[in-house]
């Protein structure tokens, strides 16, 4: 109740009598001062201009400046990373329209033509120089043109086969580095965040020939593989055969040596026996041999006394 009464009185006081003009003027002045207060978001930086001249760059947070028209601020989104396509148009890519030859083709060092697309991500690194040097909407254009000149120059020194294989990474890194150098030399206040190579491939009308090379490469590997298979089959067999030959030789050695030792032992034991009774042994052996030999042969007995009569014994 009391609060309401106070408010009513205040309004009556403000509107009442001759003081209303003064109150209005005061309010206007207060409102005017408030125009100098701004909030700069986390992803932004504010450039403060005094009658058009840049006086300072303020980071995120609450910013107090002199009221308009003494000072003005321009907000730049420095954390924003923008993407610029090279070799195709964003709009076409979204709609699935293929880029034109003029957009996508590059000439390599060995005068081949190659299709290449890149995406460049960049952000504003120095809002003051950026505002001073680059017109609104020109940043994309500037980044794209700088990057394109770098890619053209790099591709012009690289052979097509390298570009299609390990050269991609070199190209990516060098494009980033050189584009940054160019932008710096133009004092653009722009930083290249990344360069990503999209596609690198031969133009569609010769891609068949390139694919055939890949096929031929695989065929080569297959042929060599088959030959290797042949070798892997052949050599173990040969080694097995060699092993058998050697084993046979070894068993021959074992056999023949054993036989020799056996024969020798037999001879020596016979000899030992013979030494004790030489004559008897010899006679026995002789007669035993004759017993084995004579039954199978024909025999003629010649009487020594007349010398002419031959009689067949059996």
């Amino acid at each position: 109740m009391k609060l309401r009464e106070t408010a009513r009185r205040a309004v009556a006081y403000a509107l009442g009598g001759r003081r209303w003009t003064a109150t209005l003027a005061l309010l206007l002045v207060a409102e005017w001062c408030v125009t100098g207060i701004r909030v700069v978001r986390e992803d932004q930086q504010a450039v403060v201009l005094q009658f058009g001249a840049i006086t300072r760059v303020a980071p995120a947070g609450i910013l107090f400046t002199l009221p308009w028209p003494l000072e003005r601020t321009v907000i730049v989104r420095t954390a924003e990373v923008r993407t610029m396509p090279i070799g195709y148009k964003m709009v076409d890519a979204r709609r699935g329209i293929a880029p034109t030859a003029q957009e996508v083709e590059w000439v390599t060092g060995d005068t081949n033509i190659i299709d290449l697309t890149l995406a460049i991500k960049y952000s504003v690194s120095n809002p003051a120089t950026y505002l001073m040097r680059v017109g609104p909407g020109d940043a994309d254009f500037l980044v794209r043109r700088c990057a394109e000149t770098c890619v053209t120059r790099l591709v012009a020194t690289m052979p097509v086969d390298e570009l299609l294989t390990r050269g991609k990474l070199v190209l990516q890194e060098e494009t980033r580095r050189q584009t940054q150098l160019q932008l710096d030399s133009l004092e653009a206040g722009i930083r290249i965040v990344t360069v990503n190579i999209g596609e690198v491939q031969p133009p569609s009308n010769v891609i068949q020939a390139f694919n055939d090379v890949a096929t031929a490469k695989m065929e080569k590997a297959k042929l060599i593989d088959e030959a290797d298979g042949y070798r892997r089959d052949l050599l173990p067999r040969a080694r097995a055969q060699a092993n058998r030959t050697l084993q046979e030789a070894e068993s021959y050695r074992a056999e023949i040596v054993a036989r020799a030792q056996g024969d020798a032992a037999q001879f020596l034991s016979l000899l030992a026996e013979a030494k004790r009774a030489r004559r008897i042994t010899e006679v026995r052996l002789y007669l035993e041999a004759m017993e084995r030999i004579l039954p199978r042969a024909r025999k003629l007995v010649v009487d020594q006394r007349d010398g002419t009569q031959l009689r067949l014994l059996d």
Binding site: L49, A53, I54, Q102, W106, G109, T111, I113, V134, G135, F141, R145, C146, E148, T149, T152, R153, A156, T157, S185, L186, E187, N205, V206, A209, D212, A216, E219, K222, L223, I224, E226, A227, Y230, R231, L235, R239, Q241, A242, T245, L246, R253, V257, R259, A264, A265, F267, E282, V283, Y286, A289, R296, A297, R298, L300, V301, V302, D303, Q304, R305
Partner: protein
């Protein structure tokens, strides 16, 4: 009451006068102050500046930011008579605002002039270099940077002298061949790929044949080696056996001869053999003289 109105009127007039006597120059522009149309001052620094009020002095502004000129691609002839289409870009900015204002007035006209300069400079630069200076895989052979640096310097000189423009950089954005040459490039690329494919295929055959031949050779070597070792083993075995026999028989050569002879008889006397036995041989002596008990010294069949 009348005093208040007079005061208010005075303030309004003062503000109007102040507005017409000051002007802002932003960071992105040069300002030229004209006195009845005659340029009298050039303001290069941003901020608030003074001038005489409106009809006496007026201000013209010229954008000083970086501009990128991207003219349409054009066909050029290199020193070795090769056609190339070059799409160049140039970065430029106004350096001498007064000269710029007097000679070309605005950006569009300036860029038209600049395009002409670029075309002639690029044409003469490329005309004095071979294609290999633009496209080559030989290290150090490509001179794009040097060529474009020359173009930049010459264009900068002309643009500066003529229009107060500072050319920061001229670069080649795209390099390609005119349509008919482009088709020739495609044909050559195709032929080159075919050659490489053929090479891979025959290399494959070569390599495979080599592997096979090596395998065959290896097989022959393994078998021959085994054969050699086998012969060696057999030879050694024979030698060892002979040594064993000799060592044993050496003990009594006569007894060996006796035994071996008997063995030989057993071997070579078969059913076809006819043995002549004298009736008085020791073997048969007992047939005639049962009581004989002599030796068998000459016991031969």
């Amino acid at each position: 009451m009348k005093r208040i109105w007079t005061g208010l009127g005075g303030i309004v007039v003062a503000i109007l006068l102040l507005l017409s006597c000051t002007f802002e120059v932003p960071e992105t522009e040069y300002a030229i102050v004209l006195n009845f149309g005659n340029p009298v001052r050039i303001l290069r620094t941003a901020g608030l500046h003074w001038k005489l009020p409106a009809p006496i002095e007026t201000v013209t502004r010229i954008d000083k930011r970086l501009r990128i000129l991207d003219p349409a691609e054009a066909e050029y002839l290199t020193l070795d008579k090769k056609n190339v289409t070059v799409d160049a870009v140039a970065a430029w900015e106004v350096e001498d605002p007064l000269k710029f204002l007097v000679t070309v007035v605005d950006r569009r006209a300036a860029e038209a002039q600049l395009e002409d300069i670029l075309r002639s400079e690029i044409g003469s630069a490329l005309g004095s270099h071979e294609l290999a200076a633009l496209l080559s895989i030989e290290p150090g052979r490509v001179e794009i940077d040097r060529i474009m640096q020359t173009v930049t310097e010459r264009a900068a000189e002309k643009a500066h002298a003529g229009y107060g423009i500072r050319v920061r950089a001229v670069r080649i954005k795209r390099l390609n061949f005119p349509e008919e040459n482009r088709q020739a490039v495609f044909r050559r690329m195709e032929a080159e790929r075919e050659r490489i494919a053929r090479q891979y295929r025959s290399e494959g055959e070569e390599e495979a044949e080599k592997v096979r031949a090596e395998a065959d050779l290896e097989q022959a070597r393994i078998l021959a080696d085994a054969e050699r070792q086998s012969k060696q083993v057999r030879g050694e075995a024979d030698a060892e056996a002979a040594r064993i026999y000799a060592a044993a028989y050496q003990r009594d050569p006569n007894f060996y001869e006796f035994l071996k002879t008997l063995e030989s008889y057993e071997k070579f006397i078969d059913a076809d053999a006819t043995i002549v036995l004298p009736s008085d041989s020791r073997l048969l002596r007992l047939l005639r003289e049962p009581a004989a008990t002599g030796g068998l010294e000459d016991a031969t069949p």
